[in-house]
Amino acid sequence: MDRRKFVQFGVAAGGALLASQAFGQNAKPGAAPARPSPKRAVFPGGQVAVTTPNGVTLPLKEKDGLKIGHLVAMPVKHTFAPGLEGDCWGYNGRTPGPTIEVVEGDRVRIYVTNKLPEPTTVHWHGVILPNGMDGVSGLNQRPIKTGETFVYEFTFRHPGTYMYHPHFDEMTQMALGMMGMIVVHPKRPKGPPVDRDFVLMTHEWKITPGSRRPDPNEMTDFNVLTFNSKAFPGTEPLVVGRGERVRIRFGNLSAMDHHPIHFHGLTFETTWTDGGEIPAAARHPETTVLVPVGSTRVIEFVPDELGDWAFHCHMTHHVMNQMGHGMPVMVGANARKIDPRVQSLVPSYMTMGQTGMGDMAEMGMPVPKNSIPMGGGPGPFGSIDMGGMFTILKVRESPETADPKGWYTHPKGTQAERAEDALLKADGIDPDATFG
């Protein structure tokens, strides 16, 4: 199969999910599992097409040796998680915009139409290209006015994982969700081929509970942390097979925060940065990869333990949804000393957090409309009280047929459970032991 056919097949396969969706605007969050269906090798050297959980790949049509795509910068209605919708900006009706997936050496012609209420540009973050295509407004080009369509044309000379975003009014446009990932497959891949190739873009937002518009002015207090603009439980799990080689490409266009992404149940090696491939000799095993602001990191691993494995940003506030910090610490307080007095004035008041905050997601307290404060998602053993930049890696024997929404069934004896009194006694454990 020559390269052109590769590309055509890739477009057909990658675009299959998009066939009925004009630019993917109508994609239903969570409707498709976060894995290729079926897994297909469509790029040189048997490289599989990337999967963008909760997202799509940009359709590219080939003409005269060019791959032609179209990005439309536009306002979008976006659901971060059930219960939280945002008035965002993005590309082709979504945030992040479609993943641009090409092969090293591909020349692309990307049309950019501006349907925003202000000018914009597109910067191809990390891509080495002619200066006039770099997209910095005022420096490399004039801004694209509302209603105008610009064309960018350049060659992806280097394989790697990159990003795209505006370089006009960056603070506002990125804060509102304008960003996307770029995957440039090597023409001649080295190393073991991967079976799964995922793209996850991290981002952070400030959306006051009860409001809809992310706040571009915020500098420190971000309360919605996302993978591909989705907060758990809105994030689609990643379904992989035991023994499969899995690649995850992280990109970070957060405003202010780096994200240490921690994996449970496996170790990985960081194989690429946005600067290029890391030599095999320089790689080392880790369980947490730090993805700095404005950078990409690519990790690879081979899971050998079945199960539902959490992976998430390890900054604890980055796995909370919209929780504020404008209140005193209530831990340890006696609610009976407070509630009667306050309830005589505000009957619906109830002191919270005096025994910790872990069970708040299940309390079902009425909250402002269009908000998901403190909410996590349902798990097989109760509520998962994390949100935000959290998702699940589902390692299955048969990933192609596994239900991506189903939970792992633990073999007997492989799950923590309540200790019986007899066992405690036999092992000399006194649960009432006191210390200090």
């Binding site: 929780m323 504020g324 404008g326 007095r341 306050v342 004035l345 008041y349 402002p368």
Partner: protein, 480 residues
């Protein structure tokens, strides 16, 4: 010669009896005359009740204990004031003063009898006896005019006292509204205190478990103590208002233990339509009618003075002289010549008084029209504001509180901010009460004007005074 008396004692007795009858008007009669004025105006609610006899002046009207036996309302308070207020009774006695002048003015001059005895130097001559009677004829002629002046003064006095009845009703109604407002203010201040106490309780508990710095605890404590002072001040304002109403009601001792239950009523849902208010106010004005009556008094007084000045003083009489054994009888007429004193000064004064009353009438009419427009504007403005507070601001504050609770549930804000939002509801309630008080005062004032009285209205400056939360109001910082 037969001696006959100049007048019979029976005629004298009749004259005395008639004059005594004219002077027998009592307090109930004065009250009845004023009540008749209100009855004619279809305002029986302003009828004053007093004991049946002057001798019972210290008695309490029968309806007063009944009205005091249950929680007072505004109409009941007015009834009590009209029955019990002693300033008002004093005003009714002043009608008696005017009536006394009227009766006095209608009495004819008394005849004068002159007796003299002379002993001649000649001892043979008998004792000389002279007897004469003299009567002021010009006084008799002028009597109808004097009576007319006094009658006009009596009419003016009735109108003045009727105006005082209105004043009393208005003052009482306004004082009652003030008591209601101050009671509500006290309740709301107490509610604000409870909010601060709740905040302090929360701060104390958080401090106890080591979650709150002392500065926040101290701030909460300071807010509670400031709010406590505000409650005490509101309590004092209520007590003052009660005493003002007690004065209006004429109550003291055990009778001051009355209570009220009702709150200040909300304003009507729809704005009231007032038509031809200026015309109605002018037509019903006791002040204008009194001034009109005073003009008539001045006019009559001028006429009287002019007549008195031009009419020669005439008196006539008869006299008898007993000389030896015979009576010599004769008569005489005395005529004063109006050459120099023709009452020119008195006439001038009376005419000037007439002019002054006329100008005062016009000035009063102008002021009356302005006052009625002011009152109407105030009723409409305060009514709109009160409805806006009730229908828009209060619900908005309550919505803000509900949303703050949701934000609290979402762990965005603290219990202190919830309580602060609740206090904003209370604050709005306080402003609403003040606006409501202004509205009902304005309504009472407009009613007062349309009933016939425009002076002494306590409309005050426009706009309800801004009620302030206790000085520690901005306490949401605790816990931040």
């Amino acid at each position: 010669m037969t001696t006959r008396p100049f007048f019979s004692f029976s005629a004298l007795a009749l004259a005395l009896g008639l004059s005594a009858g004219c002077a027998s008007a009592s307090l109930p009669q004065h009250v009845g005359e004023v009540n008749d004025i209100f009855t004619a105006r279809n305002r029986r609610d302003l009828a004053v009740s007093v004991p049946g006899e002057d001798e019972d002046w210290e008695k309490t009207a029968a309806e007063v204990p009944k009205l005091l036996g249950k929680p007072l309302d505004a109409d009941g308070a007015v009834r009590i004031a009209l029955a019990q207020n002693r300033e008002l009774r004093a005003a009714f006695y002043e009608i008696g003063i005017a009536r006394g002048r009227f009766v006095q003015a209608g009495l004819p001059p008394n005849p004068e009898i002159d007796l003299s005895v002379r002993r001649p130097n000649d001892p043979t001559q008998p004792l000389q006896l002279d007897i004469g009677i003299e009567y002021n004829l010009s006084g008799l002629l002028i009597l109808p005019l004097r009576k007319g002046v006094a009658e006009a003064e009596l009419a003016a006095e009735r109108l003045r006292v009727a105006g005082q009845v209105l004043d009393m009703a208005y003052t009482t109604r306004a004082a009652f509204y003030t008591v209601q407002a101050r009671q509500q203010e006290l309740d709301l201040r107490d509610r604000a205190l409870k909010a601060f106490q709740a905040g302090f309780a929360a701060a104390e508990e958080l401090s106890r478990v080591g979650n709150l710095p002392d500065v926040d605890l101290a701030t909460q404590r300071a807010a509670v103590e400031s709010a406590r002072v505000d409650v005490a001040e509101a309590e004092n304002r209520l007590l003052d208002a009660r005493e003002t109403l007690n004065v209006a009601l004429g109550l003291s001792g055990e009778q001051t233990r009355w209570s009220i239950e009702a709150r200040l009523p909300d304003p009507p849902a729809e704005a009231l339509v007032f038509e031809r208010v200026e015309e109605r106010a002018v037509a019903s004005s006791f002040e204008l009618q009194e001034l009109d009556a005073r003009m008539r008094v001045a006019s009559k007084r001028a006429g009287l003075a002019r007549t008195e000045g031009n009419l020669p003083h005439i008196s006539g009489g008869f006299h008898g002289e007993r000389d030896a054994s015979v009576w010599e009888i004769g008569g005489h007429v005395t005529v004063g010549l109006p050459i120099f004193d023709r009452n020119q000064g008195t006439v001038l004064s009376a005419r000037s008084e007439f002019g002054a009353q006329r100008e005062r009438y016009l000035a009063t009419a102008t002021a009356l029209r302005a006052t009625v427009r002011t009152a109407q504007n105030r009723v409409e403005s305060t009514g709109r504001r009160a409805r806006h507070y009730r229908e828009v601001v209060l619900p908005a504050r309550e919505k803000a509180l509900a949303e703050t609770v949701l934000q609290y549930n979402a762990m965005q804000v603290s219990v202190f901010q919830v309580l602060d939002s609740q206090r904003q509801v209370t604050q709005t309630g306080l402003t609403y009460v003040e606006t409501l008080l202004e509205y009902w005062n304005a309504r009472a004032a407009l009613d007062q004007i349309l009933a016939g009285r425009h002076r002494g209205l306590a409309l005050g400056p426009a706009g309800a005074p801004r009620t302030n939360l206790p000085s520690g109001g901005d306490s949401a910082a605790a816990g931040h």
